[in-house]
């Protein structure tokens, strides 16, 4: 279920954002998001509705979490 992918906001008009993925553009409704959105933000969009604004810093946090558990494998 629930194919949802990170896309970049290239325009915002009312409660609709235009989002870009690799040069293809689609619309994403923002009613389902409880926070303001700006051009340049990354959104997680499912079936035309934004579910979350993604923070690029969280991507780094993901890699840190990976490192942490992989350290388990490195230490015998």
């Amino acid at each position: 279920m629930c194919l949802a992918i990170p896309v970049r906001v290239v325009a915002v008009e009312g409660n609709v954002a235009t989002v870009d993925l690799g040069g293809s553009r689609a619309k994403a409704r923002l009613d389902t998001l409880g926070e303001p959105v700006q051009v340049g933000d990354y959104l997680l969009v499912h079936a035309g509705f934004a579910l979350r604004r993604l923070d690029p810093a969280d991507a780094e946090e993901t890699l840190r979490l990976f490192q942490e558990i992989l350290a388990l494998g490195d230490n015998p």
Binding site: C2, L3, G22, G23, S24
Partner: protein
Amino acid sequence: MKRLLEEKITALHGAGGLVMEKLLLEHILPKFKLRAAGPIGLDQLDDGAVLDLPPGKIVFTTDSHVVKPLFFPGGDIGKLAVTGTVNDLVVMGARPVALSLALVIEEGFSFADLERILESAALVLAELGVALVTGDTKVMGKGELDGLVVNTTGIGVAERVIPDSGVRPGDLLLVTGPVGEHGLAILAARHELPVETPVESDVAPLWPALAPALETGGITAMKDPTRGGLAAALNEMAKKSGVGMEVDEAKIPVRPEVRGLCELLGISPYELACEGRAVLAVAPAKAEEVLRALECHPLTRHARVIGQAVESYPGRVVLRTAVGGRRFLEMPLGDPVPRIC
């Protein structure tokens, strides 16, 4: 004001009388530059064409084309119909010589659209130097078909025929360019998806690009990955040749805009039709030479080795995924649809 007969196709245009003759002589025939490949061709409006063929094996193929929409980003049904048949000849190892073109038109079809379609078919044939030698026009009642069906039949001549079934263990597998473009462009247009995309059909005749590669003698099997895309083409070649295949996902060329839209729609670029690509199996000793020959033409400049035929898993294709996993690349069940799951 123009008369109906000049704006729309009517039953009279297919009825074999004066109206039909006028349609043929004034609107259809003159668009095609090369109209004979022997003593009797299109101009004679005889019951058949008579061909003089160069020596070699005669390759013969036919295809009826229906596409929705008739005009799509990167092409239209006219270009697709002649290109599809030309490419079928080419991937058999044959130089295309002559084509037939048969139209089945829905009553009320726009004259201007028909002219555009024929012009783009004619352009492909003129550039290739392939003759249109015979044809047919029928009109069916409103609602009896969806716009237009185009059948093309082609004759080509091969010095050495290249079947799907010629892959041998050890052969390298090549694809001549990025995959998935035609199928994705059609899918986006057909479902009227509310997406804007730069993706266009890759529809293009393969002869000029593949002729030098054929001359190397190194190609053991060849197929155009049309319906079912790369996945279907590789599976068919593996099955008919009785070999297994190992393919490296990281080496399969896919344009970023295709990758992006596929992610958005939840479909696999490997299951989407191509109309200007070929999948080749090549003897390892000749691979360099074949690649060099392909790189000379813009259409096949991005040709890549994507894998190798093996003895294990006969009839199956194993994909080494970009992340390092392994899975079977399976024959698609049907046309891909956008998904939410």
